[in-house]
Amino acid sequence: MQTPILSIEHLTVAYRLQGEWFEAVCDISLNVDAAQTYGIVGESGSGKSTLVQAVMGYLSANGAVQQGAIYFEGEDWLRASRQRREQLWGARLSMVPQDPLSALNPALTIGEQIAEILVCHRYASRRAAQARAIEMLRRVKLPDPEGIARRYPHQLSGGQQQRALIAMALASPELRLLVLDEPTTSLDVTTEAAILDLFAELQDNHRAATLFVTHNLGVVARMCQRVAVLYAGEIMEDAPTEALYSAALHPYTRLLLRAVPRIGDSAPLQAIAGRIPSLRQRPSGCVFAPRCPAALERCHVHKPALERADDGHLVRCHRWREIAEGALRFEETAAELRRHEMRHVEDSLFDHLFSAKQSSTQTTVMRAEHVRVRYGVHSALSRLLGTKPPFRAVDDVSMRIPRGKTLGLVGESGSGKTTLARSLIGLVAMESGEAHLLDVPLRGTPRQRAKATLKAMQMIFQHPEESLNPYRTIGQTLRRPLVTLLGMSRAEADRAAADLLRAVNLPADYLSRFPSELSGGEKQRVAIARAFAAQPALILCDEPVSSLDVSVQAAILNLLAQLQAQYDVAYLFISHDLAVVGYLADYIAVIYRGQLVERGAAQSFFAPPHHPYTEALIASIPLPDPKAKARRVRLPDDQPSSVVPSGCRFHPRCPRYLGEICRTHEPPWQRDQQGRFYRCHIPPHELAALQTENGA
């Protein structure tokens, strides 16, 4: 048996905060062999970043290894001198970080940065290093490697930057361990898929051990041979990937797998109640016990040991045997979940807010026609001075949202999806086009709009941290719309605010709390309550779950579905995640570079024919199932450019590019048999034939 490349033994890392030590990583052991990809999955606060920092030797000044050891190729890495570490960093052990732009030096060209590693470790002369840098850029499949080597980081797109960092990490010929810290989290899903392909391909070549840290269960399923599930700094389960996904033994793993929305599956998601314990208040028993539906008395008292359940399958749970035998079931069935939701609905005291609602007969809540939004329109003076040309973020978008329904708007970053929502609510000005809310035309800034219009449309923002004023209590925040828009008295608003909190499943004593005392999911619940306070007919949800952990995301999605069913509110649900949209939406529209490219009912949305862009989006979603075959529709990385391509906007990246016509003519809207519309030159039957053949 050869020695593993990386061996972590009973590692405990703690941080010193105001004179006290708090354990962030607790008794972790794992071995990574050569050519093995080891996945570490965890939500925020699980200690995965601390683990990475400890492995790399990058722990911050107030962090320290309290116990255990890390061996790197048999060498005691924790005792290694600074000099020794510098010898190994970049040579035998390298890392690809999460945010590519902040990891690259903006003052050096890409080529110089890669060559620097080779020169620094004396692998090559300066000239040879340059040549090798270009060779590495070619290996990570960057187009025009010579050109890229001469460019500065800001001249590359996010995907290209990440490729350059991978080239840098793999540049050393002696590489033994590659640590990937959420390498694709900041990328769009189509780019992520292409980068994961690249990792998979390179793995076969470099033979180094890989530690793949991520929160995304789909990514792990695709990439890793073995996975450790981390929760509150402890390993909950550690198993070969296949075993973990098909026969998970820990309640946390099982619930987590059920919390991920999957395409074509509209069963309610399994939410996990509660939140991850903070460093200050780790439970003394099993760390997951406070949130575990199967927790017994002893779970709260005695910490379970990490036991060997099967060959190579480790689990930290008192009840794993019952789970393995199938004697213990704690996941709720779809029907149970639905009943659970309905009980909440009946309990809600929030009804009287809506009881006075006028029984409006309008079926269309929002009608938008030919909306255009342009950024960077300056005064005549700045135009003379030649500042940047105006950029049209939304170009000729039309849509309708029926009462009580959800329109899901899917697009990658920079597609204009958020700008569209902001133009409807008046936070940015429309350049042209019309929008009607309940047949009232929408014009001007919110201040210029009538109260009734403001009341009828509300918004939920992406970042829960920013959507609540940190200096105002939850009560103060929730009371305002009740007073200003509904004209309630202070006492009425007090009562209604408490009801609102109960409607979003938060206790009423949260009214006197400040946002800093709430978790991200709880803040988003308050933001939802605020949006519902005005009894709107339409709520614009701008990526409301994208910054939340999977288990929390499921709860928020369920809450939104439940509130909609009860109060007949329409949603414009904006997301980059097609699976999330597919879970909640009745209709789906796909937006690319400011234009809709496909729209249709959600039920039949995931069957071909698709616009080639949608096809790539669907194929790119990493599925939490290691047996799923990767569907090979990949897009080339987008070029950073504000120039809109002529003809079809998608033609430079389109895998089904026809030729001249795509470049010169804007494609027409086409309608398939199911009544879906897409904008492409290829007729429906041909496109369907192409895509089914490819999918099979």
Binding site: K451, E466, Y471, T477, R480, S512
Partner: protein
Amino acid sequence: MRATTRLSAARSTPTLRLNLTRRGRLLRRLWHDAPFSVIGGIGVLLFLIVALIGPYLTPYHPTANSLPDRNQPPSLVHPFGTDNFGRDILSRIIHGGRNIFALTGTATLIAVGLGLVIGLHVGYLGGWLDQIVMRLIDALLALPALLLTLVLLGALGNSRFTVLVAIVILYVPIVTRVVRSVVLDVKTKAYIEAAEISGESRFHILFREILPAVLPTLAVEGALRFSYAIFLVASLGFLGLGVARPEPDWGLMVSEARDWYALSPHMLFFPSAAIVALVVCVNLMADGLRRLLEYSEVD
């Protein structure tokens, strides 16, 4: 009605207690990290107390001449000694401290208040208003402080009121700038947009939603302005401006003591030391305020 009042009172108590214990914890932490800033704060407090109640305790009148006691070195009778007219230097410093606190304190408060209101508005509203106000401010900031004050003293007459006007004119632009920069950051936050789409009034958004975020920075800036104002007033006093002669003024005392330096150095030392000590204490306090602000951001 009564029930609601009781309810809200019951609700507010725990928060209050929480804030008090939190404040205590923050102060302890500050003492641990930067003890001098706490000492500075205590120093400012002592100066303030002495300025407030000192004048009632001083045994001598600050302008009472006593020719037999001229140029006395520090002694038990005159702890800081006497000057060339036999006036008790300690009494003069205490009274001068009161004058300086009254003048610079009022001027700083007015400047901070005006700067806050202007900064909130131009920062939030932006556009042409912002452009015009900011260019005006640039122009004002380009003028040397002492020169502007001298011109004003010439135009409006040599009085304490003119000094106050000068300080306000000098510091409003600086405070406006600082406030505006914070507002520019805060106004992009989603919670401000959430207030806008709920039809909140401009007053509510400026003074209820944005102001709390500005206050910590404003406190630090106010403390710094205060220390510079003390310097400015002392400099003017040294030049004999903005003070009426027999009135005690620290700057003027330093200026007068120059001629007697060789004979009685204590005349120069004590007023100079008072200026230095107060300015240093105010600056240390400002540093402490800044740290406290950082702590609360981290928490």
